[in-house]
Symmetry: C2
């Protein structure tokens, strides 16, 4: 199967995926490994806190928001790398059990001036909770190869 190239992305194109939700154990297991702050790891302390339950590490929220897009789109794309993000914002807490819809969108694209075999496609990737609020969002470029001339 031919991969998806730079030309195959359209500005304004959007993707939306099935909502995920994390149970308490999934939240605390992830946090114990990567982000062991008590608001993520300690259900007893969380019960007395402002949210009543543990809230997911923002990193876990980010990963679960990007994974479906990376699986469905970037996995089969002639992508080179991402240099990072210039927007990276955690806007709302995600409590254990909260459903979040992963979304992605093409914001802009242009061919590289210095390396004309590739282009830069600027994406927004984000997650939306059941109130319709963004819980996390990033914006940044991916480098993607142009379709070979052959």
């Amino acid at each position: 199967m031919s991969p998806r190239y730079f030309e195959d992305f359209t500005v304004g194109e959007e993707w939306s995926y099935d909502p995920w939700a994390l149970d308490e154990k999934t939240v605390t297991d992830f946090a114990k490994q990567y982000d062991p702050q008590p608001m993520h790891t300690d259900p007893v302390a969380a019960a007395e806190g402002p949210h009543g339950v543990v809230i997911a590490s923002g990193w876990q929220t980010a990963l679960n928001c990007v994974a479906p897009f990376l699986e469905a789109v970037m996995k089969d794309t002639a992508g080179l790398a991402s240099p990072g993000f210039d927007v990276f914002r955690w806007s709302k807490p995600v409590r254990a059990g909260d459903p979040v819809i992963p979304r992605a969108k093409v914001l802009e694209k242009r061919v590289s001036k210095s390396k004309p075999d590739r282009g830069l496609v600027r994406f927004r990737m984000w997650g939306v909770n059941s109130d319709g609020d963004s819980v996390w969002e990033v914006e940044g470029p991916f480098f993607i190869l142009l379709r070979p001339a052959d």
Copy 2:
């Protein structure tokens, strides 16, 4: 034990931790779950690519760079949340087996004007490879409570 408060952070303070390195299976297992691009998941394809081995998902690099700091410092800090980062940069690939030193530093701090019970401490968190190059870095604030008056 009393937690670490806003007053306990000093501008210029730095932390450095033992290097981590990810074996091939750890790289591919993580990537299959969260970032299934072939450069991260497929050792056979990677053997023919520019790096010769799989390279870690940038997300896995980020998590392994922040985890020691979050464990050693933020776990016991009266921290409220992080709103995100205004710098988020992947600078170099991390190949399976490459050692990376996690680092963190306090860049600046100030008391909140609107909510004087808390301050904003701006951190850099990053990872350094065996060439001394940064492989990933972020800069952004954490909200941290001031020490209670009594």
